[in-house]
Amino acid sequence: MFDLDPGDELALIVDTARKLAETELTPRMRESEAARAVDAGLLAAWDEVGLAALELPERHDGAGLGCVARVLVNEELAAGDAGAALALDPFGPALTTLLEVGGDDAVTALTSALDHGASRAILVIVDAVDVSADTLTLDAAWVPADEAGAVVVLAGSDAFLVTEGISLERVRGAGLRAAGAARLELEGASIAGRWTDAAGAERARARARLHAASLLLGVMRSACDFSTAYSQEREAFGKPIGHHQALAFLMVDMRMALDAARLLVHEAAWRVDRALPCAAEAAAAWAECIEASRLIGPNGVQVLGGHGFMADYPVEKHMRESRALGLLFGGYDAAIEEAGQRLVETDTPLDLGQSGAL
């Protein structure tokens, strides 16, 4: 039965993430961005709330929660600061990739690598990768990190774990700077582990897309909330700018785009957790979030006019970061390609009730 209530337990976790975002992430967003890192106080607050191992299976001492939990928490954290949300999470979607493609052994290999003092794992998704004997060569123009203890590469049906020979050359970064920004080079890097599973890789791609999509939801929500609130305070032509129909309708359309994208993300995440087909749905949700961000990011700035263009307000950051997030994991084109291929396999792809799911 259709039910959008996350349930009491999950609501509590989401509330914890929201409070952390409001009290710690948002107030320090510019500081984190300038430092290209989150500070020790924020890391301590993060450790205290225990959100670090959300999807890590319980047998690995994690919370063992699923994709719905992940997307709900991600939205909250990213509503505070998407860059910080990336920086704080040691595993990110690298974990779920190895979980889906390699299972327990792969997860153990990843957690062991990160245990050795390195901070984060980075996931890179490519169509194909240059593999020679036990080494891997790859060049990614941008990853949102300054340093990494592990790189997970998802290429086709294969997932590779690399823990040595990781070269990160710092770049300025278009957004998400709190997580860092670097060009990633793996030049004949040793492969610490390789796992192959076509179905697992498909689910891994879906989860990675939903991970990024839910961060995008958070950024978009902040852009909507901030610009809407501003429209109540700023006056032009003798009344709040939000009371001019042109801007009011724009903000309605922004909110509608956000709400619709969120529902697609939640439905796809629910499919992941129920082990239902989810590749096309996750790809579509990701594409929808990216499309929505093209509307919401720039128009969040537009509502503030000249003030929006200045770094005194967060909407310029929302605009940059929403665009940057949408470039990850194959971005828009790969997503619509995958969703489209799946869709046209039948003449009636959205038939009601055939599979028991919408």
Partner: protein, 390 residues
């Protein structure tokens, strides 16, 4: 969190699908070819009655008082989508107490329920009722209606004109929204139950429409229509509490997600026909064609989910003003876009005027007009979101 359709729902949807394929789609296509509503005596309506349609949800005068059934708006939305997939116009043509039913159940006196809904308990023949709000000079701005209600002793006298009213000429009775003082806006509105054949009710003109031809949209006039006070919906006391306009708007509120679900159904039909045509003509191998189909499919899915969210809130007895309006605003646009995209895939075939997608393109437009245009929905949302003044 749950996005599943349970077995009982699937069964109901399957039933609707079967009727839709066998009865509804062919009836809609025929009405479109004939450019006229399905005639009153058409056997289609008898079969509707045989299937148990055309009846009131009112339990009847002697029904034992029972706890109100838990609402299942979600199911009604899924069915609204499925039925509109086969033909939205035919759904509106189906006999029954229709749009005003909920108003009579919710606000009518016991005597009014028995008198006006009683014949719909076990109808001896196809029967209709209709709701008359829209006027030539008052569409979106429903507070601006000019049909005048004047008190005359124990009676009311109605004068005015209504337009675009579904099933008006064939209805047993019409719920007519009128005003006792046009200068006082909403507070002065009253709803009257007017029986067919009442002297002064006439001038029925069935409009020629662009689409949705299976049901009649009718204009008519009220000239010194004399009604007993007992025909005032809910009695005078209700209006002393200033509930007149609110009553009408409640009817609209309940309708928005249903219209949205109808629009989703139209959009889905256009999508499926587009894929079918593209497959038959070897277009699916083209990236651009696939991308366009994917974009529309995504829009249909999000419109469906937005719509179900509004229904879910209603089932939870939670406020859904924003969500209901969002569903209507979004789904209506999606239906138009889906049909429009389908026509472009058809190319010149679409220009012939005999393809289902071409019909859907015409049908879909009404979804962005009835029960509040997309612009009205945005105004409603904006009032809540940014305090847009009235």
């Amino acid at each position: 969190m749950e996005f599943a359709i349970d077995a009982a729902m699937r069964e109901r949807i399957e039933e609707a699908r079967e009727v839709g394929q066998r009865e509804i789609r062919p009836a809609g296509l025929e009405a479109d070819r004939n450019a006229a509503p399905i005639p009153v005596g058409d056997p289609f309506f008898d079969r509707c009655l045989e299937r148990g349609e055309g009846r009131t949800r009112w339990a009847g005068p002697n029904a034992p008082k029972s706890k109100p059934r838990k609402s299942n708006v979600i199911l009604s939305l899924l069915l609204a989508e499925e039925l509109a997939y086969w033909d939205r116009g035919v759904i509106n043509a189906t006999p029954g107490p229709g749009l005003p039913e909920q108003s009579v159940i919710g606000m009518g006196t016991d005597e009014q329920k028995e008198r006006f809904l009683g014949p719909f308990l076990e109808p001896d023949k196809p029967r209709w009722a209709c709701f008359g709000m829209t006027e030539p000079g008052a569409g979106s701005d429903a507070a601006a209606i000019r049909t005048l209600a004047r008190r005359d002793g124990d009676h009311w006298i109605l004068n005015g004109a209504k337009c675009f009213i579904g099933a008006a000429s064939r209805s047993d009775w019409l719920l007519i929204q009128a005003t006792v003082d046009p200068s006082k806006g909403r507070a002065a509105q009253r709803a009257f139950l007017v029986e067919q054949g009442t002297p002064g009710l006439g001038g029925f003109k069935i409009e020629k429409k662009m689409g949705l031809k299976a049901y009649e949209s009718t204009s008519f006039t009220l000239e010194d229509v004399r009604l007993p006070a007992s025909n005032l919906l809910g009695g005078e006391e209700r209006y002393e509490r200033k509930a007149g306009f609110k009553a009408a708007m409640q009817t609209f509120n309940a309708g928005r997600p249903v219209i949205a679900a109808n629009a989703v159904g139209i959009a889905r039909a256009a999508l499926d026909e587009s894929i079918r045509f593209a497959r038959e003509t070897d277009l699916l191998g083209r990236d651009r064609v696939r991308d366009r189909i994917e974009a529309i499919a995504r829009k249909v899915r999000k419109a469906r989910l937005i719509c179900l969210r509004a229904g879910w809130l209603a089932d939870q007895q939670r406020a859904n003003i924003i969500e209901a309006s969002m569903s209507k605003a979004m789904a209506a646009q999606v239906a138009q876009e889906a049909a429009s995209m389908g026509l472009e895939l058809l190319g010149l075939v679409g220009g012939r005027g005999d393809h289902l997608i071409e019909k859907l393109y015409r049908d879909a437009k009404a979804m962005d007009i009835v029960e509040g245009t997309g612009q009205i929905q945005r105004m409603i949302i904006a009032r809540q979101l940014v305090g847009l003044p009235r």
